[in-house]
C-alpha cells in the first residue's frame, strides 16, 4: 500500500508524520532532537529509509543527523564544515569586508541516485558535499570563489544558501539560490559557477541590471522540465524557460507578490503554488486570510485555495522550505506555518486540513512518497 512520510523541521525539534495513500489519518512521532532548531530534514530519493537532518542551536552549533530506518532512530554524523582554502571576505551590512563564518546548514539535498551523497547549503553562503553518508564534508569552492563573492551581502535572515536543485536529466547541472546574492548555476558538477539572474529587478539595488544582489527566496522545478524554473523572490514571482538565462515576472493577479515558498504539482508542470505574504515587514497573509494561490497555466493567472484554511485572524508565515508535494496519483500538497500548523491537501489544493496544529514554528516540510 502506498503512503507518505512528511518530514517536519521546527524551531524546537523534528517531527515525522505518516499516513497511507488516503492521507486522511496520520501518525505523528517526535519531537526528535527536542529543543534544537531543525532547519531541514530530507530523505534520499535513492533510498527512502535514508534521511538527513540539520540540527543546530546557538549554544552548541551544528550537528548533522542521519537515519537509516526512515526516522525511527538517528545517529550524529560529521559536522566539520570548513571553508576551502583562504576564507576570504564578503560584504557586511555596512559595506565593510567581513570574513566568511560558518553558522548553520539551511538545506540538505540528497543525491537522486546515491544515498551516501548529499549536498548542504550553509550560512555564510557556501555549498558542501558529502559522499560518505554525511561523515565528512568538502566545500565546492568554485561557488564562493566566483568573482562576485566578495560583494555578496546577507539578507535579514543571514547570508544563507537555502535552495539546491540538481537537474535530474544532467547531474552536472545544479542550481543554487542565496539570500541576498541570487541564483547561480553550474554545468560542470560544481567546479565553476555563474550567476543567472537576468530579468530580476529588485528595488533595493540601484543598478537595475545588477548581476548579483537579488534576494531570491526559493526556486522550484518540475523534474520533467528542468529548463523551466519558478522563483519566489523577496518581491515578485518569476519564471525562467531557459534554465535561468532569463527571467520574467508571473505575479499577475496575486494579492501580494511577496512570499517565501513556491512549489510545482507533481504531475502538472504548469501548475504551481505560492503563499502570498503581505509585505517584507509584516510577514503575514493579506487580510488575515491564509490562502494558497494556484496557477494552472504557469503563472500570471492565479486562483485562491481557501477550503479548510483559516480565513480570518490568521497572521502566520510560511517559510521558504516549508512547502512540498507528494507524487501520489492525486497530488498531495503540504505546508507548515510559523504558528505550528502543518496543512495537507490530498487533492492538489482544493481542500485542506491540518495534520497537526500545535507544533513549534515550522521551518521546513519535505514529503516522501512511499511505495
Amino acid at each position: 500500500m502506498s503512503g507518505v512520510r512528511v518530514l517536519v523541521g521546527t524551531r524546537k525539534g523534528a517531527f515525522v508524520l505518516t499516513s497511507d495513500g488516503k492521507r486522511a489519518d496520520w501518525d505523528v512521532t517526535g519531537p526528535h532532537f527536542g529543543g534544537w532548531e531543525m532547519y531541514h530534514v530530507k530523505g534520499s530519493p535513492a533510498d527512502p529509509n535514508r534521511l538527513y537532518a540539520s540540527q543546530s542551536t546557538g549554544w552548541f552549533g551544528q550537528v548533522i543527523q542521519r537515519s537509516d530506518d526512515g526516522g525511527t532512530t538517528w545517529e550524529p554524523v560529521g559536522n566539520k564544515f570548513e571553508y576551502d582554502g583562504t576564507t576570504g571576505t564578503h560584504q557586511w551590512y555596512d559595506g565593510t569586508p567581513h570574513p566568511w563564518e560558518f553558522a548553520r546548514v539551511w538545506h540538505l539535498e540528497p543525491s537522486l541516485t546515491d544515498p551516501d551523497t548529499v549536498l548542504a547549503g550553509v550560512e555564510d553562503a557556501a555549498l558542501f558535499r558529502s559522499t560518505d553518508g554525511g561523515h565528512t564534508w568538502n566545500e565546492l569552492p568554485g561557488l564562493r570563489g566566483h568573482a562576485s563573492g566578495s560583494s555578496w551581502q546577507p539578507g535579514a535572515g543571514g547570508m544563507c544558501l537555502h535552495t539546491i536543485i540538481v537537474d535530474p536529466s544532467d547531474p552536472e547541472r545544479i542550481f543554487v539560490a542565496i539570500s541576498a546574492a541570487g541564483v547561480f548555476r553550474t554545468d560542470d558538477g560544481g567546479e565553476s559557477w555563474r550567476p543567472v539572474n537576468r530579468g530580476l529587478h529588485s528595488e533595493g539595488i540601484p543598478d537595475d541590471d545588477a548581476e548579483v544582489g537579488h534576494c531570491v527566496h526559493r526556486l522550484a522545478m518540475h523534474p520533467s522540465r528542468p529548463d523551466v524554473l519558478y522563483m519566489q523572490k523577496h518581491w515578485d514571482v518569476m519564471r525562467s524557460d531557459d534554465a535561468g538565462e532569463s527571467w520574467h515576472e508571473i505575479s499577475g493577479d496575486l494579492p501580494s507578490d511577496f512570499g517565501f515558498a513556491i512549489d510545482v504539482h507533481a504531475h502538472e508542470p504548469e501548475t504551481i503554488y505560492v503563499v502570498p505574504i503581505k509585505s517584507d515587514s509584516e510577514h503575514f497573509p493579506p487580510d488575515g486570510k491564509l490562502r494558497v494561490y494556484r496557477s494552472r497555466i504557469g503563472g500570471n493567472d492565479w486562483e485562491p485555495l481557501t477550503k479548510g484554511l483559516p480565513q480570518s485572524n490568521c497572521y502566520v508565515n510560511v517559510l521558504r522550505d516549508a512547502m512540498a508535494v507528494d507524487s501520489l496519483d492525486s497530488c498531495g500538497v503540504y505546508f507548515g506555518t510559523t504558528g505550528g500548523q502543518v496543512y495537507a491537501s490530498a487533492d492538489a489544493g482544493d481542500n485542506w486540513a491540518p495534520i497537526v496544529r500545535d507544533l513549534p514554528a515550522v521551518l521546513s516540510v519535505e514529503v516522501q512518497t512511499l511505495a
Binding site: G35, W36, T57, G58, W59, F60, G61, Q62, V63, P76, N79, K80, F81, E82, E101, F102
Partner: protein
C-alpha cells in the same frame, strides 16, 4: 581520571549518563579535557568549541569548585580538586533565551 558533567543536550547527543570519567593525556587543562572528550565522543566535536577557531562557544560555560573558569586560558592548569577527581569539571549551557 577527570570527572566531567555535561549539559542535558550534550548528554543526549553522546548517549551518556550525567557524569562521565575521562583519561586525559598530560596535564589536565580545558583544552586537554575537551580534546579527550571529543576523541571519546566524536558526536560532541564542535559542540563545545567552535571547530574553526577552537574557541569556547559563546553560550557554553566551564565551572569547577564553585568557580567560573570560562575565561581562563585554554592551557591553564585545572584546579587540583578537578585533577584529583574530588570535584567535576562542569560544562553548562549558559542561561540565555531561546
Amino acid at each position: 581520571m577527570i570527572r566531567v558533567v555535561l549539559p542535558a543536550h550534550l548528554r543526549t547527543l553522546a548517549h551518556v549518563n550525567r557524569e562521565i570519567e575521562l583519561e586525559v593525556a598530560g596535564p589536565p587543562t580545558q583544552r586537554s579535557v575537551i580534546d579527550a572528550l571529543e576523541a571519546r565522543y566524536p558526536a560532541l566535536h564542535g559542540t563545545i568549541r567552535d571547530p574553526a577557531t577552537q574557541k569556547r562557544r559563546a553560550f557554553v560555560r566551564f565551572f569547577a569548585c564553585e568557580d567560573d573558569l570560562s575565561h581562563e586560558l585554554p592551557d591553564a592548569p585545572l584546579p587540583d580538586a578537578v585533577v584529583s577527581g574530588a570535584e567535576p569539571f562542569i560544562v553548562i549551557g549558559a542561561m540565555a533565551g531561546g
